[in-house]
């Protein structure tokens, strides 16, 4: 049962921010609603006390995709379906688009937004690992105006972010990776259709003359939230590619994950499989690179 509430439809961001600040405890933004509505329906503790849902659909600037030479900036209301159908995103951010196409069902993707995905910050948010390896930044609007923040800083712990009361995430800024980056996204679910992820991995690497250049690795679902592995990336950047190296990276990833999660009920399965999946992913990326050459 959905509790009684009002839906507020501001026409501008300023109006929205004002309303949110006037009702700090009782107002919540609704984007696609695919997390919040079932949450309300089931009486989830995360959504109690809501009296107003602030629906931003009338604010067109939140739906725009703006490309310049450096970045593609997407409005926070962009749905996964819109993302999947955008050629510029497909060409520049294939991992992100691939992850978007694995989110829920068509019906969910037609409503759910990429911003909602990371603001909800569930461990299994599929788009987060690709956003992290693309070094996504987000633009926020609060009473003190706009500011930017790397997404990796924004995400704190499961279902918690640095979003302050009264603030709105307005845009996601995706810096275009240099051409020589090559990568892939991997998702494991219990079934093929409409699966909640058990493991997600994103790897974006530069390969120069059989050496790893910059490497970026991220995981989701197997870690408490989507996260990058900066130490690991640094350690292996510049290494000569070999089968053994790829295995070492994967095993180190397993160690890093164990450090973050500790031993959990699912570790026995997830930790080895994550290493194995990362190895297969890296092997595929490297062999794809060879074929391109």
């Amino acid at each position: 049962m959905i509790p009684e509430l009002e839906i507020i439809k501001p026409f501008s961001l300023e109006e929205a921010v004002d309303f949110l600040n006037d009702h700090p405890a009782e107002a919540r933004i609704i984007a696609g609603g695919t997390d919040i509505i079932p949450g309300l329906m089931q009486g989830s503790k995360r959504f109690t006390g809501i009296k107003y849902l602030v629906d931003l659909q009338q604010i067109d600037e939140l739906k725009e995709i703006i490309a310049d030479s450096e970045n593609i900036t997407i409005g926070a209301l962009l749905t996964f379906s819109q993302m999947i159908n955008n050629d510029s995103l497909k060409n520049n951010f294939p991992l992100l688009v691939k992850s978007a196409s694995t989110v829920g069902s068509v019906q969910i993707r037609n409503r759910a937004t990429v911003a909602g995905n990371f603001i909800n910050n569930a461990p299994c948010a599929d788009s987060v690992p690709p956003l992290l390896v693309y070094n996504a930044k987000i633009k926020l609007l609060g009473v003190n105006g706009n500011y930017e923040m790397p997404l990796s800083d924004f995400l704190i712990k499961p279902y918690f972010t640095r979003l302050k009361t009264g603030e709105i995430v307005t845009q996601i800024i995706l810096p275009k990776p240099k051409k020589e980056f090559i990568g892939d996204f991997y998702k494991l679910g219990r079934r093929r259709g409409v699966a909640i992820s058990r493991i997600t991995l994103a790897a974006l690497i530069q390969i120069e003359d059989n050496k790893l250049g910059e490497i970026r690795l991220a995981s989701g679902a197997v870690s408490p939230i989507g996260m990058r592995f900066f130490d690991l990336e640094q350690k292996y950047s510049g290494s000569v590619i070999s089968d053994k190296l790829l295995k070492n990276i994967s095993s180190d990833l397993g160690k890093e994950i164990l450090k973050v999660t500790g031993l959990r009920w699912s570790s026995e399965y997830k930790v080895p499989v994550t290493q194995q999946a990362m190895y297969l992913l890296l092997e595929r990326i490297c062999s794809a690179h060879k074929q391109v050459k």
């Binding site: 959905i2 839906i7 696609g32 509505i37 079932p38 068509v106 409503r111």
Partner: protein
């Protein structure tokens, strides 16, 4: 608090007075007596409540009345034209795509939305389009055949 919502439903302009937090699903079934749209899970997992909103398939259990002002919504009841079955409806009958029939309206609406954007979907595209519509009777095979054979 009641609000007034105007939208196009199956080609007709309608205005209803309702509460903002009411689900589109309840609005259709209880207020507008369009019971072809079914409730199976209430959390957007089964697809039985699928309708087409602004040319896209959506779960009507995940849309609130306060969100539909100005939208164009098509339900299973809106597919027939001049008393004739839509091609999808006809093919569902001919291919044996219907057993208990509870998932059928949502399944057909997902297929309809697919055909709106893709006139000749291949098998994989059809499967993807209906992956959010659970069916426990048919094993989907005859449904996929029916959609592959349909025209918009």
């Amino acid at each position: 608090m009641k609000i007034k919502v105007s939208f196009i439903l199956n080609g007709l302009q309608v205005t209803v007075e309702t509460e903002a937090h009411r689900r589109l699903l309840d609005l259709l079934r209880d207020d507008l007596n369009l019971t072809g749209t079914k409730e199976g899970c209430a959390i957007g997992e089964c697809g039985a409540c699928t309708v087409v909103m602004n040319k896209l398939a959506v779960n009507s259990c995940l849309v609130l009345a306060g969100q539909i002002d100005g939208a164009e919504i098509i339900t299973i009841e809106g597919l027939m034209k001049n008393g004739a079955l839509h091609s999808l409806q006809q093919k569902f009958i001919e291919k044996g795509a219907v057993q208990c029939g509870f998932c059928t309206p949502g399944m057909i609406m997902s297929a309809y939305a697919l055909l709106l954007s893709n006139k000749n979907p291949d098998e994989e595209e059809i499967k993807e389009a209906i992956a959010g519509n659970l069916c426990r009777c048919t094993g989907y095979k005859q449904i996929i055949e029916a959609i592959a054979d349909s025209e918009i």
